[in-house]
Symmetry: D2
Amino acid sequence: MKVPSLVLKQLFTYGSLENTPEGVAFGLKNRLSDAVVTGVREIAFDERPVPLDELVFTLGEQRFSPAELSAASPIAFPLASTLHVLWKGASLEVGTHTISVSVQSTPFGRLSFSVKDAIREHKEERVAVPYDKEDDYTGDIIRRRQDFVRSFSGVDFEHVTRFSFEPPATKGNIENFFGVAQVPIGIAGPIRINGEHAQGEFLVPLATTEGTLVASYNRGIKVLNLSGGVTCTVSDDRMQRAPVFVFDSAREAREFSSWVNAHTRQIAQAAEATSSVAKLLDIDIFLASRFAYLRFNYSTGDAAGQNMVGRATFAACSWMLDNVDNVRAFYLESNLATDKKHSQINIMRTRGKRVIAEAVVKRDVLVQHMRVEPKSLQYHSQISNVGAFLSGANNNGAHSPNGITAMFIATGQDVANVAESSSGILYTELTPEGDLYMSLTIPSLIVATFGGGTGLPTQRECLAMMGCVGRGKVRKLAEIVAGVALAGEISLGSAISSLDWVSSHEKYGRNR
Amino acid sequence: MKVPSLVLKQLFTYGSLENTPEGVAFGLKNRLSDAVVTGVREIAFDERPVPLDELVFTLGEQRFSPAELSAASPIAFPLASTLHVLWKGASLEVGTHTISVSVQSTPFGRLSFSVKDAIREHKEERVAVPYDKEDDYTGDIIRRRQDFVRSFSGVDFEHVTRFSFEPPATKGNIENFFGVAQVPIGIAGPIRINGEHAQGEFLVPLATTEGTLVASYNRGIKVLNLSGGVTCTVSDDRMQRAPVFVFDSAREAREFSSWVNAHTRQIAQAAEATSSVAKLLDIDIFLASRFAYLRFNYSTGDAAGQNMVGRATFAACSWMLDNVDNVRAFYLESNLATDKKHSQINIMRTRGKRVIAEAVVKRDVLVQHMRVEPKSLQYHSQISNVGAFLSGANNNGAHSPNGITAMFIATGQDVANVAESSSGILYTELTPEGDLYMSLTIPSLIVATFGGGTGLPTQRECLAMMGCVGRGKVRKLAEIVAGVALAGEISLGSAISSLDWVSSHEKYGRNR
Amino acid sequence: MKVPSLVLKQLFTYGSLENTPEGVAFGLKNRLSDAVVTGVREIAFDERPVPLDELVFTLGEQRFSPAELSAASPIAFPLASTLHVLWKGASLEVGTHTISVSVQSTPFGRLSFSVKDAIREHKEERVAVPYDKEDDYTGDIIRRRQDFVRSFSGVDFEHVTRFSFEPPATKGNIENFFGVAQVPIGIAGPIRINGEHAQGEFLVPLATTEGTLVASYNRGIKVLNLSGGVTCTVSDDRMQRAPVFVFDSAREAREFSSWVNAHTRQIAQAAEATSSVAKLLDIDIFLASRFAYLRFNYSTGDAAGQNMVGRATFAACSWMLDNVDNVRAFYLESNLATDKKHSQINIMRTRGKRVIAEAVVKRDVLVQHMRVEPKSLQYHSQISNVGAFLSGANNNGAHSPNGITAMFIATGQDVANVAESSSGILYTELTPEGDLYMSLTIPSLIVATFGGGTGLPTQRECLAMMGCVGRGKVRKLAEIVAGVALAGEISLGSAISSLDWVSSHEKYGRNR
Amino acid sequence: MKVPSLVLKQLFTYGSLENTPEGVAFGLKNRLSDAVVTGVREIAFDERPVPLDELVFTLGEQRFSPAELSAASPIAFPLASTLHVLWKGASLEVGTHTISVSVQSTPFGRLSFSVKDAIREHKEERVAVPYDKEDDYTGDIIRRRQDFVRSFSGVDFEHVTRFSFEPPATKGNIENFFGVAQVPIGIAGPIRINGEHAQGEFLVPLATTEGTLVASYNRGIKVLNLSGGVTCTVSDDRMQRAPVFVFDSAREAREFSSWVNAHTRQIAQAAEATSSVAKLLDIDIFLASRFAYLRFNYSTGDAAGQNMVGRATFAACSWMLDNVDNVRAFYLESNLATDKKHSQINIMRTRGKRVIAEAVVKRDVLVQHMRVEPKSLQYHSQISNVGAFLSGANNNGAHSPNGITAMFIATGQDVANVAESSSGILYTELTPEGDLYMSLTIPSLIVATFGGGTGLPTQRECLAMMGCVGRGKVRKLAEIVAGVALAGEISLGSAISSLDWVSSHEKYGRNR
């Protein structure tokens, strides 16, 4: 297998070049795939080869001289391990140097590349937030950190530093833990959900600081309940990672895409070996220039799954790189997963859950409770469609991200996914009876009931409030979120159509 | 002034029709503009006029018979007031009825319209969250609410119900207050910002539940600091509300747009009369079909300003409706403000702050700290551009919404504005010296240092940590947010380019 | 099989209601599927049933009384046939009438529906362009048409009415044939194409009226030729039709999508039975609200194939409607094929040909012939990317539709497909040698070498000029078009980067 | 005034370096602004200065030695002139050389830059299409060209080479004129237009090769006429060029935008000095990274105006570059004019004409002539809206580009502008009477009645057919185009809704 130099450089990265008391040191990390080094041809600095006996290698526990290596006496260099190189007794001048490395390996044959790095002047001491490498979640280090922040900023913290749980609970969710944001939660509902997974009435915790929001959603919920509840359906469920492979030509990229289609079974095996949950559903391929963009679609159980699919895709790509020899460069992400972004591809092909909430709202209910005719609301909806087309908006409805965000904060979702989850397709239709069929399609709602922040203390309690803790609950949660979002559309849509909107903000939403 | 009936119905809304012990009752709310009623021509139910002496009107404190009204003895009917109508002694059958109203008024002349409403059967008792109309923020009502939620859901709350402040602090920010979400905050920085408003080093509170996020931003901040800091510029600043006016024809809509352009001074006066802060900058007009969409652009000081511009625009529209007589319908919002949505119009014409963060990252710093060559990062950026074009993404960078969301939660921003704030334009360029110029343009960053949730206890402290409390600070905050967001782009961009990405998640981001 | 009434009305349409000398007449066209009528239950006008013996039916050659029909004596009512109904001797008043029809049929059972239609006053005589129902392409009718146009418009036509071929050649391509547009053709090239289908040098006919266009493309072609030619690759090839199915709920729509996935073989059979060429590749399904949008992807040989895939999809949908009984309404197109439109889905999933043209342009050649450094052109390309992102453009290059349109007109393509074909992804990269790698990806280039206008006299000659007449040539043509388009990108990109642009228009492009 | 070197290189371009019999020669073209050269400091090849007395300069008619130049004896070097430099008797080796130039000038002071160019081996003789530098439109050169094409391609041309006019008529419209595409024209109409500029009935020439198109438009026209005609309104009218200015920082770019706003009067003067027709309406400014994108909006009379606004904007930019000294680079186009592209900015801010066609189509007419209920058509329109949202289409209607393209080809428009003109916003609404209000908004219709191809023989006759020749007619033409386009929407919309679509293609549109 021949590895092009661009890929080589990308895949064998090196740690910082340093003058140490022992000599000149740097590291080489194997990011390509398992390999065996069978000999060292040359290590050179600034094009001057170093005699092999002046070099010492360290790999894990082993320390050895490059001269010891041979086909008969090789050394395993596994994926993700780092080879530390030491040039004994040497010292380089401050400034830029070229490091050249040439080794003999299996299965790659000769691997040669050179990089530039610099020996830097003694570093200035930077002010840094206190950190404890051993355990950064003890009371002691947290207090030291709080003291530091107090002294740096001159602010006396009375509230941020008060929380109701033991700090280690946040391990895996935060680094440099300092305190908490206390975001007020109001209760909306109960809302009647007629889902496949959520059935019955649910109280909904909304964490927000925007006055009127809870009241507004409650008005919509009342209307939904009086109309028999909201029917919610999860229509699709998939999470993505989208690597890109660079070739010498568009034709090679096209051949690669055929190769991928012919090897999906093996690719899926490689991907799924990394997780007991992730299943590879399919791979969308997009060709442009000499690049092959692959969008891996996975099911991820009750986790949102972004990390899970990252690992799985990385493993799949490693297998692919092992089996294809004309890749010029490779990146694990290419802006086609569109993590933390709105995109048309999310609207089309789903990211997270595709959920649809539907209801037939009775005319009398609308008129009596929202003071608006179905006809007026539907007319507004048609005009808003044109508005959304003119503005290029990712949502032709009123404000579904309001309720979604409030539920995300309350329940420990990755709130930055509001970017994706903000898309929405509102559709309204007058029934022959003069009632109003409304549906809200959320094509890329990213929720979890497992992993991420869902296990944190208040977050878990809010999930519990809706019976959505842990495994097997994520579609239930998705249904509730969609139902609540539709309630908000009814409420704000009615308010706009009946002009109540400004005045309700006047009444509730002022805090200055 | 002639008011078309569609507008009439929209502007004079009515309260629920009821059989009361006193008789049949309903209300009429004036949403159009100040008026004087000089006579009542007819009130009819189901097309049968009610003798005027069977009717009693109540307006504020006044109670009077419609027969008493005349041009000589009029009654003021101000904007936003409600006229309660009582048909003494009467009672309507359960079912739908038509109410017709015809009054004589100044300045509208005769106002006539009819609506349908229904007398409903006795309402079922609905389960409802306890609420205290007088004061909903007392310890007592909150406890009752908590008890209700406990009993409804069967969950024992230990954490959500614990907070460090007095509940009335949340008045104006939440309804049905129940407790708080405790979102862990980690500290990033200090980051060196070279802004016009933010100058120096700032510690940054990041409220998130996503492991690795704080660590990742910190890596980017280190690189920025070693490169001399990040230069941040607020290039524009505007907040919108976008009403739509419906006409009989496209030609009338076009004439209206000319009329608007000829009356911007008066429109601005009407708008600005509602606030000491809001200033109308200009009005973008978009014509389609027979609709005139107006996008009002305001400066809103240190508030995000969505409510402020809603009120101002409503006042402006009221003035316009008073002075134009061919409007067929009017809605205060039309999906061109694109509140809580991504849109192309936000990218082009700014919503909130347009902020640009720039840095020249030294090659040596990148290589030593991020193990990536500027060339590789820049190459990835070019390929990602194509990826964003293919996917129709609203951001060609890596993940700016991550840092933005974490700062939003910490500092009491309206987090649903992540929808707008998620847009970004990342631009990278190799300098002749081989260093990397990077800039991140955030075209619609919505931030506030005043109003909304910014005054809540933990939120205010986090603003204080950055010296961003209150008036005159909002652009400083915008600069810091942009600088932090760029740090995240460097960090994740480098990780992708050097393949470190999956493995850093492996190390920090696991909590299951 | 139960057919919902909405579908019934849609599928059984009727011809105009008329008072004829024989009586009241109307027609019923079967658009659903082959059926057999086994009895007539009732035909009524304005809810008054007509005695069956007053009715006469005509179906093709057969004329019979409805009373003659029975299960034992049925009548075949094939798809697309029309049943003419006559109410002998009767006459309806001018105005609107309700027609009700109820018949017994196999396989549908009882089919009942009613429609409204009107008897109109005697029609005014409308001025109409002369038309010959028997043969509209004779010299005689064409002359009469020309005379009519002359007399109507007062214009003496000297040029439009002159053409070099016999009018019947245009049958199937035009109705109301009147004359020709003579669009000047200039010759560009020869251009060296290194394709899989096009190999060698090709002269290119460009039909345009825009001065400088031929000269500009020629400059780009020279640069490409001096760089060894342009490498072209057809990466994908598919044509679409996108019907939509309406259900009672989102859940039914989702179940339908599963059903479709489980029956692709049968659906493909039904579709492919309509054509010896069309092959169904796959079906993309998009769910929103209670609608299932299906995008059928076909290969269509050397034809562009829009009509072919319309027929095939209609047949497939007929089969589906026969086998699914909960469809509420159905439309053959839903704006997801995006025929004659730009769309993101075309960019992603290809429409027509996805072609990529690539070249490495030598620095010396660029500098000597275009007076621009690769670096400057590449810099412009990066800045234009940001411009395209800001403007929401469907092409980040300079002007590929110019060359595409000129080739489309010359070679008899459906020129309105410039809407789709205008999308483009330009990508540029400096090579380590300082040369410029350029590629242009055209994701939705719609071309044909067979069918449509490709067989017309001048159009066929222009295809012949490039060796692209008829079957087996369409990818060759696609490659040449892409190569020419890239030449235009080099030329205009260089001109902009070297500022030559305005002055070259000054020199060539003036004709007033 | 200080000129940054990047701008210098961009603005002073040079002609090819050559060994001539007289010596080494190259040219310098002034693209910056009028200048006066007051002395030559140095001309060097490969860093070796040439003695000034070995150099000869030629500027227009003047030939002189650089040594003769001084502040007292300067030479004018006007914008767009070329200074030819000759190094007498010298000869450079084949290969790459560096040319350095340093002159003293007013008003720029010292101008110094160096470029690389190459002396190439004797050029291979390339096959080239015959061309006559003196007059390329004579019968002789055209015949020679035709012979060449015949011999190169082996095709005997019988039709392409036949046309009804004298070739010089095409001067300014085509280069390398060879023959014509004869595109069949069918006549649609007469259509009744109720415009401000077009009033009455118009016959419409449609140049197309797509069978059924003329018939389909005619059906829609009949419906429109029976409904009283189509009301058309030109709501806006503007043409763009969008240069970009590069600065050292975002802050400088922002200051520049303020400077532009403060100098619009002078900028407009500079722009309008280039044309008696173009008027600068306003300048939209878009800031991203350190770039200032300016979108100049002009009115351009009866011409489409792309070239006119290019010249005007170039002149305006020259004035700006003369008056601002921190521009680092400048390009006349940046992908924000979006010439020959669809873009969201066109939809919002208009490109060419914004035209709206409206009609109220009577239910009876629709039912009798199109066999479809208004309700069904409107329902399809709502479902298509969702389809367009899902697909990211630039048009939510059916196929307006079909009619637009056919009229463009017939009347000599720049057909590549179908890219822009393909956008459309279809809006439908049921009236209380059950009729159908329909409107089609074309936000970026680019048409001309003057300039470009509008004066060519058949094209002018087609304009004459509609009374649209020459000055003062362009809005009339725009109105007719919009009316025809709406007719097509009715026709195809009805066909889809009544399922007639496939079968009408079966009947007319086959030609193989």
